[in-house]
């Protein structure tokens, strides 16, 4: 199944972002997805916006189902729109990305995005992001779960394309109208 830019824009609209802003349309990474994690955490990993995006895409690779295409454009459009004008949310996300890189560096001497797919999955597993209770103010795994893993899963499974993978074209969180609940399954 193919994820499209439209899915991303729909998911953005549903999350309250004014769709059509310059950042979304121009993919203005530097403006929209910037942030300074090193200031806050004192850590060494102040990666550039494009690298952060690459890390997010690397996570999407792990948490999204394999039969999905168009992930890159979807994540770019969605993630940028989401953090624009939401300062504290952007900070939370940037911090979580740098936390994840810290783990990758400690265990594998490389940034998360540079790891091969299996190693990426093992890092997320070993840090406990799969079983952690998501919590924006929690520990490392809880924040990675909340700001990164669940952020991506929320975007996907509240969008029509993500919903359709499961069998619901109007998932919760998506304003898909009042026709679909009346319709029977398509055979």
């Amino acid at each position: 199944m193919e994820l499209t830019r439209r899915d991303a824009l729909a998911a953005l609209a549903a999350s309250g972002v004014a769709v059509g802003t310059a950042a979304v349309l121009d993919d203005d990474l530097a403006d929209a997805f910037d942030g300074d994690a090193s200031d806050a955490s004192g850590g060494p990993s102040d990666s550039a916006p494009e690298e952060r995006m690459a890390t997010l895409l690397a996570i999407a690779d792990v948490v999204y189902p394999s039969r999905l295409s168009g992930v890159e454009e979807f994540v770019r459009t969605y993630a940028l729109g989401r953090v624009e004008d939401r300062e504290s949310y952007r900070e939370g996300m940037v911090q979580a990305l740098s936390t994840l890189d810290d783990y990758a560096r400690t265990w594998h001497d490389a940034e998360f995005r540079e790891l091969d797919p299996e190693t990426r999955e093992s890092v997320l597993d070993q840090m406990g992001a799969d079983t952690a209770d998501p919590d924006p103010e929690g520990g490392d795994s809880a924040r990675v779960r909340y700001y990164l893993v669940n952020e991506l899963l929320y975007a996907l499974y509240s969008s029509p394309t993500g919903g359709k993978l499961v069998g619901i074209e109007n998932p919760q969180g998506h304003p898909g109208g009042t026709g679909s609940y009346q319709r029977g399954p398509r055979r």
Binding site: P65, E121, G167, N170, Q172, G177
Partner: protein
């Protein structure tokens, strides 16, 4: 508007002071302001920005911030204690803010049946015109297809929502059993109404509708303000003061976020703070003249607390059921409301009559039952995805397995009024202003359990007929409250055993009225808010007669 720059000083001259900006307070304020009176509304909670609703929806769907965070409930302001045999989760049962609990509610709105008024000092006929007015105010989508509903002459303001695909599966089984299905009146726009959009299917009605298609009372607060009413948010009323004779309320004393305390004087006072905070406020307003609490000569303030209880059965069928597209129901059944013991006969079988010899011999006769056919049975995929411990293809497999075939029925039964179920003050615990918190004493009695058992029986019979594999039951042992706070300042003609008269004015004080389900004498088994709205409009009319 809610910042520190807001003027929260009292109005110099007010005809009416309303306490609480939920549907009851909003409707009273709107009606009286429209008639040209000076109205001040004091609301404990904040004014939420409509623009933030999508973010609130996200909080509701995504785990991480806790369910109470959606409407900022909890903390010292909302402290309470639950001392009864059954725990009562009070802060899940209310919202404090402009719009009150309707910000969170589900929005199904029925008129009580004629039989529900047997113990009341007013009849269905007395409320009937107010019901029609309330339906127009809230914007109710409904159809005249319920053979058990009380008489009405005006059509609903909007057409009913069409039945769901899931309803059509139930319909086959119900026809074989002789169970009647009919539409549900919804305070939810099936088309554009009163400058609010029609439903667009976010599917998160409870606890938040981002489109505004579900009615919430902030709408009437705005309308009241357009008519000149003044609404002061974050202004919890601490107590009411009365004159020397103890005949009139003179002022509502309220606090502000800046730490100030003000007195709002008015000619008439209307309490619309919900069925828990109204009795609490009266008890907190004790004085030498009213040592047991204001307007409490009867001793009934806080007593006879009732709620409705949920009964449900669910499972899976071997067909797709198409759940969770929308967050509201489209079909229900009132057939067992006036006659919960009746049997039915369909084209192929039926529901057996209640014989008194069920699972419990000699159990009390069940009371009214309302049955619901759910459109949101089983988990929603997005919520499953966010709380699971898998991702990638494994997660998708799990979601596909978990979603698709769920089916469930819900329902409500009522409790009869019992003096020992009550709201009292817990003097050992105080809120953020140093006031004793509400203390709930509440339990579920045997008759209520019998009603739940009967409801489960009917639900199980219908699901069996559908061929469902039943996996869960909510009944007598694990039921929970529906969050309808009734009975705590009950209406009556005898001042020795009731708090307000049939004109919703307290027996004790001549200028103090109550608009709330707290005046219900009995609660039936139907969601209360349309009746609250009708009573609020009636109360507003009586206040006006005195102004």
């Amino acid at each position: 508007m809610t910042g520190s720059g807001t003027d929260r000083t009292p109005s110099e001259r007010a005809d009416v002071c309303v306490v609480g900006a939920g549907p009851a307070g909003a409707l009273v304020a709107h009606r009286l302001a429209r008639r040209g009176y000076d109205v001040v509304v004091l609301e404990a909670g904040e004014r939420f920005d409509f623009e933030d609703r999508k973010e609130r929806m996200e909080r509701a769907i995504r785990p991480g911030r806790g369910p109470l965070s959606v409407w900022e409930m909890g903390g010292p302001r909302d402290a309470y204690s639950s001392e009864g045999e059954w725990f009562y989760p009070l802060n899940r049962a209310r919202v404090k803010g402009v719009g009150g609990t309707t910000l969170h509610w589900q929005g199904m709105v029925m008129r009580l049946h004629e039989s529900d008024f047997e113990a009341w000092p007013i009849e269905y006929g007395d409320l009937r015109p107010y019901y029609a007015e309330a339906e127009a105010a809230l914007g109710v989508a409904g159809a005249d297809d319920n053979p058990y509903a009380p008489p009405r002459e005006e059509p609903f303001p909007m057409p009913a929502f069409s039945p769901s695909y899931s309803d059509s599966l139930f319909a086959e089984a119900c026809e074989r059993l002789g169970v009647t299905m009919h539409s549900v009146p919804n305070a939810r726009n099936s088309e554009g109404y009163d400058d609010r959009s029609s439903c667009v299917g976010y599917g998160t009605c409870k606890p938040v509708c981002p489109s505004g298609a579900k009615y919430s009372a902030d709408h009437h607060v705005e309308k009241a303000e357009e008519e000149g009413a003044r609404v002061i948010d974050r202004a919890p009323v601490q107590r009411l003061e009365h004159d020397d004779a103890g005949e009139r309320v003179t002022a509502a004393v309220y606090a502000t976020p800046e730490g100030e305390t003000h007195r709002q004087e008015a000619r008439e006072f209307v309490l619309a703070a919900g069925g828990v905070e109204i009795p609490r406020l009266l008890l907190l307003s004790e004085s030498p003249r009213y040592p047991d609490g204001l307007a409490n000569s009867s001793g009934a303030v806080g007593r006879y607390f009732m709620d409705h209880l949920f009964a449900g059965v669910g499972g899976t069928v071997d067909r797709e059921t198409r759940q969770n597209h929308v967050g509201f129901i489209t079909s229900e059944c009132h057939q067992f409301y006036d006659d919960p013991t009746r049997g039915t006969e369909g084209t192929d079988g039926g529901i057996p009559e209640w014989s008194g010899k069920g699972e419990r011999d000699g159990e009390p006769r069940p009371d009214s039952i309302k049955l619901e056919f759910l459109n949101y049975a089983g988990p929603s995929p997005v919520e499953m995805a966010l709380s699971g411990d898998q991702w990638g293809d494994d997660l998708l497999d799990t979601l596909r397995e978990g979603y698709g075939n769920s089916i469930a029925m819900g329902g409500l039964v009522g409790q009869r009024p019992r003096k020992e179920n009550r709201i009292a003050l817990d003097r050992s615990t105080t809120d953020d202003h140093g006031n004793p918190v509400p203390e709930l004493h509440w339990r579920v009695d045997d008759r209520t359990k019998a009603s739940l058992r009967r409801a489960n029986r009917i639900q199980r019979a219908i699901l069996d007929e559908l061929g469902a594999d039943i996996s869960w039951t909510v009944g007598p042992e694990n039921t929970g409250p529906a969050f309808h706070h009734m009975g705590t300042t009950r209406m009556g003609t005898n001042p020795d055993e009731s708090v307000v008269n049939p004109r919703l004015r307290t027996h004790d004080l001549r200028n103090l009225s109550i608009a709330s389900s707290s005046v219900f004498r009995t609660g039936g088994a139907l969601n209360p808010t349309l009746t609250i709205a009708a009573l609020a409009l009636k109360a507003a009319g009586h206040v006006e007669e005195r102004l």
